[in-house]
Amino acid sequence: MLDRHLLIVTGKGGAGRSALAASLALRAARGGRRVLAVTMTDSLGLSGHLRTGTLGPKPIEARPGLSAMAIEPAAALDEYLRIRLRVPRVGAMTRAFRVLAETVPGIRDTVVIGKLLWEAARSDWDLVVADGPPTGQVLSLLRAPSTIEGLVPASRVKEQAAWMRRMLADGAGTGIVVAATPEELSVAEAAETIAALSEEGLAAVAAVVANRVLPELRIDRGLLDAEPPGPRRDAALLHLDVAAGQRRHVAGLRPDHILPLLFGIRTPGEVASRLADLWELA
């Protein structure tokens, strides 16, 4: 999975997107790869898990071999106009595009996904890991380049949108990591996203991950009948009942990776480094 140039982590709210993205970035950096972790939504999630300060549009080094940044649509748009479209720095022009990009979701999304792809194409990084949008929004983001490609006639913008579409669809370079907790709606959203990704040929699924899964408790239910009421019995019953429900949902998800619920861990930084230890990557 880590041999790709770009991984985008998605999942329903609560699935642990930023923890998983941070842990993959940490793991790849430990393996000697030069990694950039990027947050595309709420930057506090990623900065907490990587123990960095506030993330902004310029990459900062979180530790040797691992940098992190946040994509800010306004900054990404300015960069796009200046560097990719070579629009002269005329105030009125920049303002016009900014105002319209605020209004037109296709432009905004394309600029954001473009920034991510250009970072992934840079030789400074071996791997870019994105803490991506939730499953409810990831498809429209991934569709944005082809929407723009269809809207504008032959131009530099059209060529660039086509390049983005091809980069996303290239399964050897780009992969989507779809995460879910073992709950009905989380698994259902993951399954819908996976189906739509392959149906529309938007991008390849690099891995399906079941996150926050209870470890198996090897206790015979019959034994608990003899156990007097109290916390020992209650905790075992809760574990067995929750785990039984989770097993059904995990089976429906058919994950490539199963990561456990981490009991009693307090800080996001600890969660990410513990998860980085736990990935079983062939």
């Binding site: 709210g13 629009v87 605020e102 999304d109 009905e184 905790a235 929750v242 307090r266």
Partner: protein, 342 residues
């Protein structure tokens, strides 16, 4: 006047279940209630009634409890048809740019949900309307949607394009906008921005209607009783902090902060047992119980709230009666606890 209970919180914390539980409990307390839900899990949908759709229908086992699902799929089309004359509406809906991006036009779905809530609350058919908010943005998106929609139909983009408004006339592009649009078309290779501009100009006819309506929606939010739901996990806790900081802009201070999936406090002391599998298991859960109580204490210290604790259950209740029991057991998620008589 109908009281509105607005349930907000981060994704995956159990907002939908708690909305239904609060609704059922308030109905049991003698009020007529509508529960408006967004995306219920199958079991929950079944608990609320087999015919759960966008039209309110009775919940089995209750006399005065109805439930409906918010359908915001064709939201922008609805907003445009409600606020523009037929000719303009047709032109807007057939605009090339709008057709390409209509499904993700900003704030459309969130605002449609907000309108739906207001429509039901205004109908005076129920004494209480309980609203579950969509997962994206944890509820802030819905609360902010009236302001965002006004900004879109009457905001910066439009003013810049049209210059000062000329009432009753389809405006021309402003002098600033014209040369830039032409240059933009050269860069883009064609009239994309012109399509966008046409769309925004047409959209201006909806401004008066949307402006009046959206302010009414905002007033409903401001007077609603908000219930903030969280768990002890890092992301929901972060969202909760954000809510306390941003909610004052949009709504009143939460009447209740619910800590969902809580473990019993007495499990915290575990850990010095004899080392059999039951002790080892209790010790693990005890660590989690300790972490949770620390998170609750932090929340209380920072925001001066006493959280309502809802225990971790392996499965959500399968009947509306079970849901009502769940809210009733907290002692604080009913008519009195939420101060719905004020």
């Amino acid at each position: 006047m109908t009281a509105v209970v607005l349930v907000v919180g981060s994704g995956g914390v159990g907002k939908t279940t708690l909305s239904a539980a609060i609704g059922a409990n308030v109905a049991r307390g003698g009020r007529s209630v509508l529960v408006l839900t967004v995306d219920p899990a199958r079991r929950l949908a079944q608990a609320l009634g087999v015919h759960l759709g966008s039209t309110p229908s009775p919940v089995p086992g209750f006399d005065r409890l109805d439930a409906a699902m918010v359908d915001a799929s064709e939201s922008w089309e609805g907003i445009i048809r409600a606020h523009a004359d037929a000719t303009t509406a047709e032109r807007l809906l057939h605009n090339r740019f709008f057709r390409a991006v209509a499904d993700r036009f900003p704030s459309g779905q969130a605002y449609a949900a907000a309108e739906e809530m207001t429509r039901h609350a205004d109908s005076d058919r129920w004494e209480v309307v309980v609203v579950d908010t969509p997962p994206a943005g944890g509820g802030i998106d819905v609360l902010a949607s009236p302001r965002r929609i006004r900004a879109l139909v009457g905001g910066r983009a439009l003013r810049w394009l049209t210059g000062p408004a000329i009432p009753g006339r389809r405006a021309l592009y402003s002098l600033t906008a014209r040369p830039v649009l032409r240059l933009a078309d050269v860069v883009l290779g064609g009239p994309l921005l012109e399509d966008v501009a046409e769309f925004l100009l047409d959209l201006r006819v909806t401004y008066d209607g949307i402006s009046r309506r959206s302010r009414h929606v905002e007033a409903r939010f401001k007077s609603a009783a908000t219930v903030l739901v969280t768990t002890a996990d890092a992301a929901p806790m972060r969202e909760t902090a954000r809510f306390f900081e941003e909610l004052p802009d949009w709504a009143s201070r939460p009447r209740a902060v619910v800590f969902n999936r809580a473990l019993p406090d007495e499990w915290r002391a575990a850990g010095e047992g004899g080392g059999d599998p039951l002790d080892a298991n209790l010790e693990r859960w005890g660590q989690e119980a300790l972490r949770q109580s620390e998170a609750r204490a932090e929340l209380s210290a920072r925001y001066g709230v006493v959280p309502v604790v809802v225990p971790w259950m392996a499965e959500a209740p399968v009947t509306a009666g079970g849901l009502a029991d769940l809210a009733a057991a907290t002692g604080r998620l009913g008519i009195e606890g939420l101060r719905l008589d004020q």
